[in-house]
């Protein structure tokens, strides 16, 4: 396997807080790599530097061998990177299908197209519906996004990530705030994506992480203290002290 994403010596500080402290990490093509760590460890900040929402102070991010450290966020989607948000980030005053169709539309190159009504373009709508079908939201397609429940919003985040057709999906706590049943559905769903997409998954739910991950990295105070298979991580004394012991 080859590294799809290669992070080297990444650093990011906010005032006195070091949110990312000399992070080195390879994400292999096709793997589901989980990042676990306590609250405030810097997981979201790491994702943001990969998606382009934030700039690192120093270090490098390589995607398919190309240096993308300073590429603007909008350019990374075109390269094949997408993310979901820990705190739901949707266009609330548009319909569910509109949200997903916008993700499909982004794949077609630029959108400086002023004449044809977007809602009449079959492939945008059909692909959008197909993605909603995958996450079980097809019957809600025409509802205003604001009318959906929290759990459904989490599913929309995934449908949008799927619609972007990105090789690398950065998922920031997709199960945050879901009930046990909804979580189980989401785990099954992510399982079905394994192999198809490369996924960097941040998750607090240990059962989910150990059920899904090929490899796990443990992030504490911005540092990666261990990387390994689920079995190795379970057996790692440092990890137990730093993190799992708390559970």
């Amino acid at each position: 396997m080859t590294a799809l994403l290669k992070i080297s010596n990444l650093r990011k500080t906010f005032g006195g807080v070091t949110a990312t402290d000399d992070v080195n990490l390879d994400v292999e093509q096709g793997e589901l790599h989980a990042i676990i760590g306590p609250n405030g460890a810097g997981k979201t900040t790491l994702i943001s530097q990969l998606s382009g929402g934030q700039r690192p102070d120093s270090g490098k991010v390589l995607f398919k061998g190309a240096d993308i450290t300073n590429r603007p966020g909008y350019a990374r989607a075109g390269l094949g990177i997408t993310r979901s948000f820990q705190i739901t980030s949707l266009v609330m005053d548009m319909s569910v299908l509109d949200n997903v169709a916008l993700a499909v539309q982004a794949r077609d190159g630029h959108s400086f197209r002023f004449l044809r009504p977007a809602r009449g373009i079959a492939h945008l709508r059909d692909t959008g519906r197909a993605m909603l079908d995958k996450v079980g939201l097809l019957d809600r397609a025409d509802e205003p996004t604001a009318a959906l429940s929290h759990g459904e919003h989490r599913q929309m985040e995934i449908a949008i990530a799927l619609a972007s057709d990105a090789e690398l999906m950065l998922l920031d706590e997709p199960m945050a705030g879901l009930g046990p049943e909804e979580s189980a559905t989401m785990v099954e769903f992510l399982k079905s994506l394994k192999g198809e997409r490369t996924i960097l998954l941040i998750e607090h739910d240990m059962d989910a992480v150990f059920a899904l991950a090929d490899r796990i990295s443990v992030l504490v105070y911005g540092r990666i203290i261990a990387t390994g298979s689920p079995l190795e991580i379970r057996g790692n004394i440092d990890v137990q002290h730093a993190y799992l012991g708390e559970e």
Binding site: M92, A106, S111, F112, A118
Partner: protein, 321 residues
């Protein structure tokens, strides 16, 4: 934001009344009402253009009167030089040239000021668009050749093929058709792929960037289109009033345009037109009662914003729709 059947009906009825009533008034000897309607329709075009960025783009421009000013001086200055000499290269009474100048200069001004303003957000955006408009205001104030503070009389209206702008009915009809076309242009744009991106960025800019859209460029494009349309309204305003002055582009004029959009119903096709109807009516009625008419007008506006989100269009459309 979804156009319901009821709102389409309202749009058609009001647009039909707006066409028929002034013509009837004019032919029954009430020329004053035709003038009022012409001004209303021109302000309507400006409000429709502002709605593209303010309503659909969520970009609160507090400087759109600058385009009215640029557009009207683009008519006034060429005519001035045609009559009094100097500046040969712009001296002209040709309406197509003047309108081209109005639209082109407005687009250029929008491109330059938008490129800077759109790097800021929220209150800063409001302030900086206002500051740029004030710059234009003071520029024209300082140009003594064109009357400075006292303004400039336009000696001859734009010469156009097919229409005679000295005929009040023809001028009104040109403005009315222009309004209808502006509304169609904005409607087409907002339903297009471009429009979806613009509205998506209004709702959640970060999400749209993550999807791969350089939202800055989309917003800048909308801003330029809006400025060009508003500059066109300015060229009509110059022809209508035959007298132009920097006062046309003061910050309170920009505020009035914002009021029209918000009062009528931002992000709706008909809202800005309702807003300008309401504005003209309220201005006429209140200003005949008291010179302090801005105060009750302001209170009304606050009332609509607080109690009827969606503006007049929201009230007319009804809750159940």
């Amino acid at each position: 934001m979804f156009l319901t059947k009821r709102s389409s009906r309202i749009t058609l009825v009001v647009m039909a009344l707006l066409l028929v009533m002034p013509v009837v008034f004019y032919n029954t000897g009430n020329e004053f009402y035709l003038d009022l309607a012409t001004r209303l329709v021109i302000l309507g075009i400006a409000a429709v253009s502002l709605n593209l960025v303010l309503g659909y783009g969520g970009l609160v421009s507090f400087g759109h009167a600058a385009y009215i000013g640029i557009g009207s001086y683009a008519v006034g200055i060429p005519v001035y030089h045609e009559f009094y000499g100097g500046f040969e290269s712009v001296a002209s009474t040709n309406g197509l040239f003047q309108i081209g100048l109005a639209v082109g200069l407005s687009a250029l001004f929008a491109l330059i000021t938008g490129a800077i303003s759109l790097r800021t957000k929220g209150v800063y955006f409001i302030m900086i668009t206002m500051a740029f408009a004030q710059m234009v205001y003071y520029l024209f104030l300082s140009l003594d050749e064109y009357g400075g503070d006292d303004g400039l009389v336009i000696e001859m209206r734009s010469q156009l093929p097919l229409v005679d702008l000295d005929n009040p009915i023809e001028l009104f009809l040109l403005c009315y058709v222009s309004l209808a076309i502006s509304m169609l242009i904005v409607r087409t744009i907002i339903h297009s792929r471009f429009g979806m991106v613009l509205q998506g960025a209004k709702g959640n800019n970060e999400r749209l960037i993550t999807l791969g859209y350089n939202t800055y460029l989309y917003r800048l494009t909308a801003y330029v289109i809006s400025g060009a349309m508003c500059g066109f309204a300015g060229a009509l305003m110059g022809n209508f009033s035959s007298f132009i002055s920097p006062e046309m582009m003061g910050w309170s004029r920009s505020g009035e345009l914002m009021f029209m959009v918000i009062l009528g119903g931002a992000a709706t096709t008909m809202g800005p037109v309702f807003g300008s109807i309401a504005f003209i009516l309220v201005e006429e009625v209140l200003s005949s009662l008291t010179i302090y008419w801005h105060l009750p007008f302001g209170l009304m506006l606050i009332g609509v914003v607080l109690f009827a989100r969606g503006g007049l269009m929201g009230i007319l459309r009804g809750k159940g729709d």
